[in-house]
């Protein structure tokens, strides 16, 4: 990064920091985790607050409600939000991080005008309709079908692991439009309104006791053809664009929250009473906590390297897989160490007096999904082996 770029990023960072100190106290209280109506309402208020502050759609064109911002500035915004304890995207995650950037480059101008501004204002919520029970890691095996009838597609089939399906207004939907073509060439990407007749949404209870994912069934759902994103049967290409954005900047928020968490864990360890002294008095505990903290420092170093590579136009490639694999497994290790540190206190999801045990345990339960979603750790290892090391692909 040049010196002028570095100082303009610093000015931006100071501006963001100041804005956060002003707006964060104005937000309503965080809603309970399992009240999704309240979650959606809260997340919309936060998204609207970012929009009013001029921070929604960083890197998106102003004509859709966005604002020009370099990669470094986008990272700086997320970094400052994380440090200040600003809320995460929540229900706006799919819309902001996948749908809007995909629609920007792949959809018609008419669709861009219709779909992007309400995402940035927090008015419309998106879900992702990609995976099916028989098409997880092998997404190209998807079977949800769309048959053209006049100026509509008639959709039949199902999706699973539909993030925020039960509160969404729109769905990024992958459907099979040509069953006779080779698998990757018969898929189409639709922007599906979730309030159409024939759509049934059933939330799934996860091992963390939450319901962020749903099963969705489509029974003769009629979707206008002009809601297609990109060309018919070119949906796989559009999905790849979405995947690239999925592995984008948002992990920096999680990374900083994790660094804050490991500091809290060190403090908590001093409060955990054991037979002989505190948990912190145990050298093994200190080593475990220190090792995870070192791994988080490593993730931070990787992130800084990725930012400066992006600034010089060097694209992500397999490095994104390295970051996803190492980052998600490190966050799980942090949770595993915490569970060991807390001992009996890890058996309850309620925080005991003076401890954050419940928060850590809940977080570890939720983090279980991150080595599975967005490309499993096994798929990431395949990508690293094939693209970074040049090893042969799987033979049929």
């Amino acid at each position: 990064m040049s010196r002028t770029e570095a100082s303009s990023t610093e000015r931006f960072r100071v501006e963001v920091h100041q804005w956060l100190t002003e707006v964060l106290p104005t937000l309503p209280d965080r809603p309970p985790r399992d009240d999704w109506t309240a979650q959606r309402a809260f997340d919309s208020v936060w998204q609207r607050t970012m929009y009013d502050g001029g921070y929604a759609g960083l890197g998106l064109p102003e004509k859709y409600g966005g604002r020009p911002a370099s990669i470094a500035e986008q990272f700086a915004f997320l970094e400052e939000c994380a440090r200040a304890g600003a809320p995460p995207h929540g229900c706006n995650l799919v819309g902001i991080t996948h749908a809007a950037p995909t629609i920007l480059t792949e959809a018609s101008e008419e669709l861009r005008q219709r779909l992007i501004p309400p995402i940035l204002r927090g008015e419309e919520i998106w879900c992702q309709g990609f995976s099916e029970t028989e098409a997880g890691s092998d997404l190209a095996a998807l079977r949800c079908s769309a048959v053209q009838d006049g100026d509509h597609y008639v959709i039949n089939g199902h999706k699973i692991w539909t993030t925020h399906g039960h509160v969404a207004d729109w769905c990024e939907l992958l459907v099979r439009t040509d069953p006779t073509a080779p698998r990757h060439k018969g898929i189409t990407y639709l922007a599906l309104p979730m309030h159409l007749d024939g759509i049934t949404v059933r939330p799934i209870r996860t091992l963390a006791g939450e319901r962020e994912y749903s099963q969705v069934t489509f029974d003769n759902v009629r979707c206008p053809v002009n809601l297609r994103v990109g060309e018919e049967n070119n949906g796989w290409h559009v999905a790849m664009v979405t995947f690239a954005h999925e592995r984008g900047a948002t992990f920096i928020y999680d990374l900083i929250r994790a660094q804050q968490a490991v500091n809290r864990l060190a403090d908590n360890a001093r409060q955990v009473v054991r037979a002989e002294g505190s948990a912190w008095d145990d050298a093994g505990v200190r080593r475990d906590i220190g090792r995870v903290a070192a791994q988080l420092d490593g993730m931070w170093a990787l992130t800084r390297r990725a930012i400066s590579d992006a600034a010089t136009g060097h694209g992500p490639g397999a490095e994104a897989s390295v970051a996803k694999l190492f980052g998600t497994e490190t966050l799980q290790r942090l949770g595993d160490v915490a569970i060991k540190v807390f001992g009996p206190a890890a058996l309850t999801l309620d925080n005991l007096p003076g401890l954050c045990n419940g928060d850590f345990v809940h977080e570890r339960l939720v983090d279980t999904r991150s080595t599975i979603a967005g490309g499993t750790s096994q798929v990431q290892r395949n990508i690293i082996a094939e693209r970074l090391l040049g090893l042969p692909r799987e033979s049929a």
């Binding site: 440090r83 900083i256 660094q259 804050q260 490991v262 500091n263 864990l265 060190a266 403090d267 001093r270 050298a283 200190r286 080593r287 475990d288 906590i289 220190g290 090792r291 903290a293 070192a294 791994q295 420092d297 490593g298 993730m299 931070w300 170093a301 990787l302 800084r304 390297r305 490095e319 390295v322 694999l325 190492f326 096994q378 990431q380 290892r381 395949n382 690293i384 082996a385 094939e386 970074l388 090391l389 040049g390 090893l391 042969p392 692909r393 799987e394 033979s395």
Partner: protein, 322 residues
């Protein structure tokens, strides 16, 4: 302190690769089970391209470069498995004459407590010990016993009795040497990690079993992927630590310890896995993988091993929020 451009770094790395091929090619160790003492001609060749004097002032024949430049060079030397007390001599060159040029060889110990097992003592002129200051000993006055080494390319000796030290630095100086030594050694470990990966990768792309390259089996691919991830993370962490040291960043101590942990862990996984991926050949003296494994154990022990540094990182937590 000066820095190197990308081109200058690349040129220096190329010189090191040529040097490694010419002077440090490991042919001697393959043919003989005897421990290999430091070859003074090879050591001078290393000094001649400026490696040992990288951090030293011009008045002592040095290049006055910072850690950021040095870690790229140390990584390349690690990849070449270059032998000799490079890190101790590079530190020594900042305070003593004749070291940059290769006339005086310096080795050291990062702690005065515990067993004093020193590398390359048989070839060294001076022994440095870090404690509450930097103490330097004349090797001629030291009573030591040469031991049978784990790493045939790193001779080691047990110190029985030291002579009289000359104190050349206080406890702050000792800390700075300790941090720089750990950072450089972490860079060496990253280089050795990359060597282990490249060697294993070449093997699995050549070896056929069950009618296909063993590199196409998922278990092999995933093991190599984990090795590669370790190398990438450690490499970024070493650069981060080096930059922090050069900038006198308050986080430098922690970043150095983090880098030492990550580099030690990455090297350990890569070196052991590389042996495994070579199958029966990996178990032989003649093949290289055991040399990498033994060297990374030497380097992990230098300037505090991964476990010790993990604790040091832990001690930076809690009161210092990021």
């Amino acid at each position: 302190m000066t820095t190197l451009t990308g081109q200058e770094t690349a040129a220096l790395q190329e010189s090191i690769r040529r040097l490694a091929a010419q002077h440090f090619d490991r042919a001697g160790v393959r043919e003989s089970a005897d421990p290999q003492s430091l070859d003074r001609t090879s050591w001078r060749a290393l000094c001649d391209i400026g490696v040992v004097g990288m951090l030293a002032p011009a008045s002592r024949g040095g290049l006055e470069l910072g850690l950021r430049a040095a870690v790229d060079v140390w990584e390349e030397c690690g990849y070449g498995l270059i032998t000799g007390p490079m890190t101790w001599s590079a530190l020594g060159a900042t305070r003593l004459d004749g070291v940059s040029q290769g006339d005086t060889v310096v080795t050291g110990l990062h702690d005065s407590r515990g067993q004093l097992v020193a590398e390359h003592l048989d070839a060294a002129d001076r022994l440095v010990i870090l404690g509450d200051g930097i103490d330097i000993y004349d090797v001629a006055d030291i009573d030591y016993a040469q031991m049978h080494p784990l790493d045939p390319l790193t001779p080691v000796a047990l110190v029985n009795r030291l002579g009289q030290p000359e104190r050349i630095g206080d406890n702050q100086d000792a800390l700075q040497w300790s941090l720089r030594g750990a950072c450089l050694t972490a860079a060496s470990l990253v280089g050795a990690t990359r060597l282990a990966i490249d060697t294993a990768r070449s093997h699995v792309l050549a070896r056929t079993q069950f009618g296909r390259l063993i590199g196409s089996f998922q278990s092999v691919k995933h093991l190599l992927a984990d090795m590669a991830v370790g190398a990438e993370v450690a490499s970024a962490a070493v650069s981060q630590a080096a930059q922090a040291l050069d900038a006198d960043d308050p986080d430098a101590r922690r970043y150095v310890s983090s880098a030492k942990v990550l580099a030690g862990d990455a090297a350990s996984l890569a070196a052991r896995s590389s042996i495994q991926l070579h199958g029966g050949m990996g178990y032989t003296w003649e093949a290289d993988p055991h040399l990498v494994w033994k060297r990374i154990i030497v380097w992990d022990n230098a300037f505090g091993d991964a476990e010790t540094n993990a604790q040091l990182v832990a001690h930076c937590l809690g009161d210092n929020r990021p």
